[in-house]
């Protein structure tokens, strides 16, 4: 059994990373050429890692299941990227970004990692601008910033509602440069299905070519997993359809511990479900909460009238509306962190105040903002006594300039015009803070196997702040891994090429082949999606926004049953050695069905509430915080790192105690 050593460098927190970099081993340029590194996933973390490692001289093989690295799901991030540049002179600093991130994560992240993240954040912006990323600018030509939830400064850099796209295309262009030079060998439409270990070290992968269906062996001196998060265990989420846990789960089953699987971010502002055919949920950026007010009717009869179509939201007078975030959290109002906003919406809907047919929707209303902006605009332009309709017209133009693309997206999906009637929104699964356990060097518990970006657990604790995912992905890939991986690889300069003809590779390939053949020969009757939807429903109902002991125990039983049924009754049409998208899904859902159980088990084990993990049994009673989530630092200030022992029910937990030397543990209050 491996011990959990986070390998946090000695010294004061602000010197740790610099000292560490000064003392780790390096690999000389001539030797780098003969060292191979595999990078799985080409989003912000994988793309930036592949480009940086290739540029340093390593021979990189990069893999993505999409038809081009540019399509990884980082592309869909909307809002922005945080960096402690303090361009706005509003008192921002590395320490403040560090502090906000640890507090926002509800004190469940590792101080040293978060400090390093804040420390390199400024470099990311410099780097991206040099690469030609077109961030938003002010008229003076300097970079513009905006503010996000849970913080008191403006440190978010953005490119309209497409920041993730622009940053990913930046990383993709850096990769292209290296692909053109032959330093990265790119494998598009390839999916990693197994990790190969030789003498205990990660030495390669088994991948399936998704066009021909052939299994391939690829060797390397180190393997980087940057395959993103596992939100699709809920079936419906804001993740892309192909986002999956397979690469991460396969290394977990080979010995990498999986940390805090139950930490999931449920984003408050997403378009609600409309029917059983629904395949995914769409996010409406957090930035909308700057101007939108969230409410439900205060009276049940109004709720009923709305559901029956006899009444419209705009017909309800102000006194009959319940602006529940403003009511419960007067200090932060509509800009409370994501976990708090989501739970509050669920509470109202559970109490019967949801405003659509499914009872799972609340309003996000821009009428006040339209009126406010319209009046301001009229005053500035010297229009005296403007009519109500003129004010609306002016106000709508302001809103359009700020959120036009989001409003258009909303209307395309729902066929409702959000300028005229409030948007309907409901929380949805968006991001997973949990992931593969890594030490300070981003190495997993398997020597030579690294994890970066959303795939690891490291920086966001139990709740991630807006605009921090992009920051972490690029920090890991551009600025952390390129240093730390060299320390490990300095022992490998005499190893030479790793053969793929060894027993280890043959056995790993055979194991994958067995799984593939098992699916192809199964004489079942139901599609993969049938089981994935069942799993998603259990996860959402019992392991979702609010969790309790009874529900979690039921969920574990139900997931086991679904898993058994899946293996008995799933049907995969077609052939294994051709493009077969049903087979691809089956191999992913097989892993989700195991992860789902561990996820519920982790949630059951952690009887405290923290961040996105809310245990109904652990709430504040009485006093000003009555009904809020209650953390238990005495018993739960640790990372739960799970070891695979053959079945999720037997997984063993290892605890990495979290110590806070530079930040005082406090209750998060947004009242």
């Amino acid at each position: 059994m491996a011990t959990l050593d986070a390998k946090i460098p000695e010294g004061p927190i602000k010197d740790k990373w610099t000292n560490h970099k000064n003392h780790i081993n390096l690999v000389n340029p001539a030797n780098k050429r003969s060292i191979d590194i595999i990078v799985v996933g080409t989003g912000l973390a994988g793309g930036s890692a592949a480009a940086s490692l290739a540029e340093m001289g390593y021979s990189v093989k990069a893999f993505c299941f999409q038809d081009s690295p540019r399509r990884a799901h980082s592309i869909a991030a909307q809002g922005g990227i945080n960096a402690a540049k303090n361009y706005q002179n509003d008192g921002d600093s590395i320490f403040r970004l560090f502090y906000d991130t640890v507090k926002g994560g509800d004190y469940r992240s590792r101080e040293a990692n978060v400090y390093r993240l804040a420390e390199v954040s400024g470099n990311i912006i410099d780097q991206c601008v040099a690469q030609g990323v077109p961030f938003a600018r002010e008229y003076g030509g300097l970079l513009d910033n905006r503010s996000f939830g849970g913080v008191l400064v403006s440190r978010t850099f953005y490119a309209k509602g497409q920041t993730g796209q622009q940053l990913l295309l930046g990383a993709y262009s850096a990769m292209n440069r290296q692909i053109g030079k032959g330093k990265i060998k790119m494998y598009n439409r390839h999916e990693m299905l197994e990790l190969v270990k030789v003498e205990g070290k990660a030495r390669g992968i088994i991948a399936r070519d998704l066009v021909t269906g052939k299994l391939e062996r690829h060797s390397a001196h180190a393997v980087v997993i940057a395959s993103g998060g596992y939100g699709n265990v809920f079936y419906l989420s804001t993740n892309a359809m192909g986002s999956n846990v397979t690469a991460a789960w396969r290394v977990h089953k080979k010995g990498a511990y999986f940390a805090n699987p139950c930490y999931t971010q449920i984003h408050p502002t997403c378009i609600p479900r409309s029917g059983d055919y629904q395949s995914k949920l769409t996010l409406m950026s957090e930035s909308l909460r700057n101007d939108g007010r969230i409410w439900v009717p205060a009276k049940k009869e109004d709720v009923m009238a709305i559901r029956e179509g006899k009444m419209n939201a705009v017909d309800i007078p102000a006194e009959n509306r319940d602006y529940f975030l403003e009511r419960r959290y007067p200090a932060f109002g509509n800009l409370v962190p994501r976990d708090v906003a989501s739970r509050a919406a669920k509470e109202r809907c559970d109490a019967g105040f949801g405003v659509n047919k499914t009872g799972e929707a609340v309003y996000l209303d821009f009428a006040s903002a339209i009126h406010r902006y319209g009046s301001e605009k009229a005053m500035i332009s010297g229009e005296e006594n403007p009519s109500e309709s003129r004010i609306k017209e002016l106000g709508e133009a302001v809103i359009e300039s700020k959120y036009g693309n989001l409003f258009q997206m909303y209307e395309k999906i729902t066929d409702f015009n959000p300028y005229k009637t409030p948007m309907m929104i409901y929380p949805a699964v968006h991001y997973t803070m949990g992931g593969i356990w890594v030490d300070y060097n981003l190495m997993t518990t398997i020597p030579g196997c690294y994890a970066a970006g959303e795939a690891n657990f490291s920086d966001h604790g139990a709740n991630r702040l807006g605009a921090s995912a992009l920051m972490q992905g690029l920090a890991d890939g551009y600025f952390v891994l390129p240093y730390t991986i060299g320390d490990y690889l300095s022992d490998d300069i005499r190893t030479g090429e790793i053969s793929t003809e060894t027993t280890e590779f043959v056995e790993a390939e055979n194991a994958v082949k067995k799984r593939v053949d098992g699916f192809m020969n199964n004489k079942g009757s139901k599609s993969v999606d049938h089981f994935h939807k069942l799993l998603g429903k259990v996860m959402w109902d019992k392991v979702g926004m609010a969790r309790n002991e009874k529900g979690l125990k039921e969920a574990i039983e139900e997931i086991r049953q679904i898993r058994a049924d899946f293996h008995k009754d799933v049907m995969i049409p077609g052939e294994p050695y051709e493009m077969n998208m049903e087979l691809e899904k089956a191999l992913r859902v097989e892993d989700f069905l195991e992860l789902g159980e561990l996820f519920a088990k982790d949630a059951l084990d952690r009887t405290e509430s923290c961040g996105g993990h809310f245990r109904e049994e652990s709430t504040e009673v009485g006093g000003p915080q009555d009904g809020e989530a209650k953390r238990d630092d005495e018993n739960f200030a640790y990372v739960a790192a799970w070891e695979w022992t053959g079945d999720p029910s037997n997984s063993v937990v290892h605890k990495e105690q979290l110590t806070f030397n530079d930040i005082e543990l406090k209750q998060r209050s947004y009242k």
């Binding site: 081009s68 540019r70 938003a136 030509g141 490119a159 292209n176 053109g180 066929d415 599609s527």
Partner: protein, 250 residues
């Protein structure tokens, strides 16, 4: 609503391929087009048939994976959307819908509606980047101010999602809109000017090698582009190309 689907089925790159007809009895107008395709595939699987292969991923119009030619138009009848953002309310009860892959010499069919767009990647390998190290040791991000108008134009060009609708819409299967968007983004920014000549010459050379046709200014690409990438970019690229060809080589 009920719809009749005429779908291109092609087992592999070497197969000849043909249109097959399917009936869907219960389609909700609130479904996205791809959710309707999910229903079709579920029906085919239940009947023991092979589901239709199609590329898709984010389903929110940004990854650029989806690539269907619907009733003769890339991404179908709506404007400013990708296939995944197209909703069934754009169709009527009883409609017959033709669904084919993007068609172009540069985009060979892999299977059914899935095409190979790796030519786009190779054009980017040829010069779609600024040669800057990823060390982070560059100058401060604010040390070179960029006029807002230029930054905004560069952004507009950079919003291209690389879906290939421009190629599919063009009677010459030209990739000019795609290539010019990248060339424009970098040529508008001071950081990109250093390599501007080399970039445009190499990217255009690769574009021609991949078998894409020439531009004859019909503007079909701009009309069908889900992201509204402007023809202005093609004009800018032509100027860059002329400038680069006329001046001395490196």
């Amino acid at each position: 609503m009920k719809v009749t689907l005429k779908v291109w089925r092609q087992k592999s790159a070497s197969d000849k391929g043909k249109i097959e007809t399917y009936q869907l009895a219960e389609v909700s107008e609130h479904m996205s087009f791809l959710e309707m395709m999910d229903v079709l595939n579920e029906q085919l699987i239940t009947e023991g048939k092979i589901p239709v292969a199609f590329d898709h991923d984010c389903r929110e119009g940004i990854c650029g994976s989806c690539s269907m030619h619907i009733n003769g138009e890339p991404h179908g009848p709506d404007r400013g959307v990708t296939t995944c953002q197209l909703h069934m309310r754009m169709f009527k009860d009883g409609d017959t819908i033709y669904i084919e892959p993007f068609r172009a010499k540069g985009f060979p069919v892999i299977k059914d509606l899935v095409v190979d767009r790796s030519a786009f990647d190779r054009i980017q390998h040829a010069g779609g980047f600024i040669s800057v190290p990823t060390s982070g040791n560059t100058q401060d991000a604010n040390s070179i101010p960029i006029p807002k108008a230029d930054a905004d134009k560069a952004f507009d060009a950079a919003t291209c999602i690389g879906c290939g609708a421009c190629v599919a819409a063009c009677k010459n299967a030209s990739a000019m809109l795609f290539v010019s968007a990248k060339v424009s983004q970098f040529s508008l920014l001071p950081q990109g000017k250093i390599e501007a000549k080399r970039r445009v010459l190499q990217m255009v050379e690769q574009m021609d090698k991949e078998g894409f046709g020439n531009c004859s200014n019909t503007g079909a690409c701009e009309a069908e582009c889900p992201k509204g990438i402007s023809l202005e970019n093609i004009a800018r690229m032509n100027r860059e190309y002329l400038k680069a060809s006329a001046s001395s080589s490196e």
